[in-house]
């Protein structure tokens, strides 16, 4: 039949995409250079989405964490690591994929990262490392592209939001937030007076939703897992409860568990629907399966003050920014 994969040949484009979606990032960024046709295919929004979802379904998200209290100095850069549990592209268990990302140098990125949404983080920082010139930026660790957003001139009160092209939502946190999440075009925050606030980007309306019945003094955080909002609550006796939001303001108790194998672990969030990440007292990361109650060391010890380390659940994407 004399089939060729290039355009002009009879090999259909959708089958080419079927093959390309299985390739890792590095190969795809390189193969943009093959021809005009391949450049177009790999850059197309349809393919970016296909690739993100293909890998998202096959692999667990990676963990990205950064030390929010350590300032970025020139030799230290951003104290941040992206690491994956098991990844043929980047090494085995506990191997950092990206450590101290050099391409962020010069942006004076300060302490706070948000997201990720579709593989892209947003951050607040300063354009210059010598004087204070605040800016907002976006960062895609997979393509190593960093960009700053045009300056915005308004006073954040009480919360300010950012929405880009209807795909992203990043929450920027004045002191009253605990955590925030973006779901179905609606942004959710937990605020300190026990309310769950939401903003619908379509109708531009704020709502106050009820939260699950968690005592005020219990530690709790909001998370987006498997496409639904969940609230994690912790009592003083290390008993954790996970609540699932069935519809706005309606909550179901999903799991209750107690980490008994370690003393006073620091909860750092959820990796997937049943795996929580903890930090033990010597700053080693480990995972805990809430169903099987198994703990598993991730083979990685954090440097720095564990109280100020943020953990993000990160899936790579080719999304251009």
């Amino acid at each position: 039949m004399g089939t060729s994969i290039d355009d002009g040949g009879p090999f259909p484009e959708d089958l080419t995409l079927d093959i390309l979606q299985r390739l890792p990032f590095k190969s795809l960024l390189r193969f943009k250079c093959i021809s005009k046709n391949w450049y177009g295919l790999i850059s197309s929004p349809a393919f970016v989405g296909k690739h993100f979802n293909y890998h998202g379904n096959k692999k667990r998200p990676k963990i990205q964490f950064h030390d929010i209290d350590r300032p970025a100095s020139d030799d230290d850069l951003i104290p941040m690591i992206i690491f994956s549990e098991d990844d043929s592209e980047g090494g085995g268990e506990g191997t950092p994929l990206i450590e101290k990302p050099h391409h962020l140098r010069g942006f004076g990125v300060d302490k706070l990262f948000y997201g990720p949404v579709d593989g892209v983080f947003s951050f607040s920082g300063t354009r210059s490392t010598t004087e204070y010139d605040p800016c907002l930026g976006l960062w895609n660790p997979a393509t190593r592209v960093v960009t700053t957003l045009p300056p915005v001139h308004f006073k954040p009160q009480p919360a300010f939001l950012l929405d880009i092209a209807g795909i992203f939502g990043f929450g920027f946190d004045p002191p009253l937030h605990n955590s925030s999440d973006y779901l179905n075009g609606t942004y959710y925050w937990m605020v300190q007076d026990d309310a769950l606030l939401s903003f619908d980007f379509g109708s531009e309306v704020f709502h106050q939703n009820s939260r699950p019945d968690v005592p005020r003094h219990h530690f709790s955080s909001l998370m987006l897992l498997d496409g639904s909002n969940k609230i994690m609550a912790k009592a003083f006796n290390s008993v954790f409860t996970i609540w699932l939001m069935i519809e706005p303001g309606v909550w179901n108790k999903l799991h209750t568990f107690q980490c008994t194998s370690i003393i006073e672990p620091f909860y750092r969030g959820f990796w997937d629907s049943t795996t929580a990440i903890f930090l033990d007292t010597s700053d080693w990361l480990f995972s805990y399966d809430v169903v099987t109650q198994e703990t598993k060391p991730l083979g990685f010890q954090l440097q720095g003050d564990h109280c100020s380390i943020c953990v993000h659940y990160y899936k790579e994407s080719l999304l251009p920014i």
Binding site: T3, I5, D6, I19, L29, C33, I34, S35, T143
Partner: protein
């Protein structure tokens, strides 16, 4: 038995249990449209022979798991995809047309594995793709992600 006819007018008899791994033919049989010969105008005899070989080997996937023949099947799959690019693309197109999910997976993954670590030059040569980017365009793409073009894993050989 089901009769299949390739686009070069060759007929092949295949057991129904094997051929229903193709969703397309399974639907035809269920709808009663497979009474005589099923013509396959998109598939030549050479490709159809490969596909039938795969279908016959994978006839009882469930049984293989029970009898411990999984390794045998795995070895067969590895041997099966050991073919040239043109042949592989023909099988992918046939698997797509006949809607044989497992065969699609096997062949597309094999193609991706072969391409994964190749250099730009090697891919162009392997797949007979003409570079129509200007030198400036090419340099711009490299400058966007220079690290993607470097690394000990990158393989410039054509095979």
């Amino acid at each position: 038995m089901v009769k299949l006819k390739s686009n070069d007018d060759k007929e092949f008899e295949v057991e129904e249990a094997a051929v229903i791994q193709s969703e397309m033919i399974k639907n035809m049989i269920e709808d009663g449209c497979a009474t005589s010969v099923i013509p396959l105008p998109n598939i030549d005899s050479k490709t159809l022979i490969k596909v039938i070989e795969y279908l016959n080997k994978h006839i009882n996937m469930g049984k293989a798991a029970e009898t411990g023949e999984e390794d045998d099947l795995k070895e067969f799959d590895e041997q099966f995809v050991n073919m040239g690019w043109e042949e592989l693309f023909d099988v992918i197109m046939a698997a797509n047309y006949l809607n044989i999910h497992e065969l699609m997976e096997l062949c597309c993954q094999s193609a991706a594995d072969r391409l994964k670590n190749k250099s730009v030059r090697a891919v162009r040569e392997m797949l007979k793709i003409t570079n129509d980017l200007t030198e400036e365009e090419e340099q711009e793409i490299i400058n966007d992600a220079p690290w993607a073009f470097e690394g000990p894993e990158i393989d410039d050989t054509v095979n």
